[in-house]
């Protein structure tokens, strides 16, 4: 890990530690989504096992968009973004630091949300529970890596807060599908999630590589 990446990461973590903006808003928002879904679908019995995985993933998705919109918008004040653009370090390091920071935030939110979730949906994990510790980080990484990239892309447009979900959601759909299928397979224990885990890992590798390669182009677009 190089120094530039480390200092960007420490800076983002420190800002978050002092303000707790992203984590608190994500936590409350995803909690709301969970409550809304449980009111809308009345999850009881086997049905709750079926939909819980999907609800958890969609709740994470909606919540992290609100935080990802702020990830770059926060740098616009005091022209920090321009300073970062002029810094003689590769943009990929800045990007990776942002992804790591947001990945930690979203993972923390998921870790807090999971017990609430199990209570609200009366879940019993029928499959191998430890696989969730593989699936959720892989899915979160796919979400955060793409989300950070497209947030940097949409920051240059009019109504950027609107544009981010419009371009992130279509690209993220294959990963969401894999994440939901794998989580549901683990919760119900009815099928083998390994194909979906492989697909998630492949998606992560492909899109993270593309993001790292193309980040400088987007960041310095003029």
């Amino acid at each position: 890990m190089t120094r530039a990446l480390w200092s960007h990461l420490v800076k983002d973590l420190r800002i978050e530690w002092r303000s707790l903006d992203a984590i608190v808003s994500m936590l409350f928002f995803s909690g709301l989504v969970v409550v809304l879904f449980s009111l809308a679908f009345d999850p009881r019995g086997a049905f709750s096992q079926q939909i819980a995985g999907g609800v958890l993933c969609v709740a994470t998705l909606f919540a992290s968009v609100s935080a990802l919109n702020q990830a770059w918008a926060r740098e616009i004040r005091h022209q920090v973004l321009d300073a970062q653009r002029m810094a003689p370090t590769p943009g990929a390091e800045l990007f990776l630091a942002k992804v790591l920071a947001n990945f930690l935030f979203v993972t923390l939110v998921q870790a807090i949300l999971a017990p609430v979730f199990i209570v609200f949906y009366n879940l019993r994990i029928e499959g191998q529970a430890w696989l969730l510790a593989v699936v959720l980080p892989l899915g979160t990484w796919a979400l955060v890596a793409n989300g950070t990239f497209f947030a940097a892309l949409s920051i240059r447009s009019r109504n950027r807060e609107l544009l981010l979900p419009l371009i992130l959601f279509p690209i993220f759909i294959p990963a969401l599908l894999a994440m939901v299928q794998a989580t549901t397979a683990i919760l119900t224990g009815e099928s083998d999630p390994s194909l979906w885990i492989k697909m998630l890992a492949g998606y992560d590798i492909i899109f993270t590589t593309a993001s790292l390669l193309l980040f400088d182009v987007v960041f310095n677009a003029e």
């Binding site: 497209f150 949409s154 240059r156 447009s157 419009l166 371009i167 690209i171 294959p174 677009a221 003029e222």
Partner: protein
């Protein structure tokens, strides 16, 4: 000269489309198992092929734009016009695929839509290119072209997933008719109708693509001239 070429192309396209329609509706024999409804394939599959071709043109345009934008800005503008034209016409053909599919599915599967892998991913592809067109609308100035080109590359990374999905995941969608498993393929009596329709729809798509490209080039030149006039004033 250019106008004459376009005129000839229009005439050839019109003849091809009439001939293709005759072949598809009257000349091709009725399918033994599916009945008349199978004729949707003469529109569904050529549209899908055209959509993939135009998305590929759009991708090539975007890569060309990214590669040329620094040292050959004039060539980069040409590339960007192809990227935009390919995406727009591709979305139209992809829409046709998504409309003709359910029409067939209603009769063959007894349901309009199913969340099968290939259907889902074609829909995803359509969504991605619509979001590409939205980005072009929302972002302004020359940076918009760069951002759109990057998004196009991300969209194109999805295309292999779309194409392979039918082979990876067992789903509702028919197995590939052409180049699929042994025993797949069309009745030879249906092949001419299929070939003529592929030809007709590709000719039609290329015509629209070229026209759209020229419109975009004109508007690029107009914008450049306005900038120049503003600078001179």
């Amino acid at each position: 000269m250019k106008k004459l070429a376009i005129g000839i192309w229009v005439a050839v396209t019109a003849v091809l489309m009439v001939w293709g329609f005759y072949q598809a509706i009257y000349a091709a024999p009725v399918d033994e198992r599916q009945g008349e409804i199978y004729r949707v394939i003469f529109y569904h599959v050529p549209s899908a092929m055209a959509a993939f071709l135009f998305f590929a043109i759009s991708l090539a345009g975007s890569i060309g734009y990214l590669a040329l934008r620094r040292h050959r800005p004039d060539r980069a503008q040409i590339s960007d016009a192809w990227a935009l034209a390919g995406a727009e016409v591709g979305v139209v053909f992809c829409t046709v695929v998504l409309i003709t599919g359910p029409i067939w599915g209603r009769r063959a599967w007894n349901m309009w839509w199913t969340w099968d892998a290939r259907l889902t991913t074609t829909l995803v592809l359509w969504l991605i290119y619509v979001s590409y067109l939205l980005l072009r609308r929302f972002a302004a100035g020359p940076q918009m072209q760069t951002l759109a080109a990057v998004l196009n590359i991300f969209g194109a990374l999805d295309v292999p997933i779309v194409y392979m999905s039918n082979r990876w995941w067992v789903g509702q969608h028919p197995r590939p008719v052409f180049g699929g498993d042994p025993g797949s393929g069309m009745d030879p009596a249906m092949l001419p109708a299929f070939g003529w329709n592929v030809l007709a729809w590709l000719a039609w798509g290329l015509l629209i693509l070229t026209l759209r490209y020229h419109v975009e080039r004109k508007s690029q030149k107009l914008a450049a001239r306005e900038v120049q006039e503003a600078l001179n004033a």
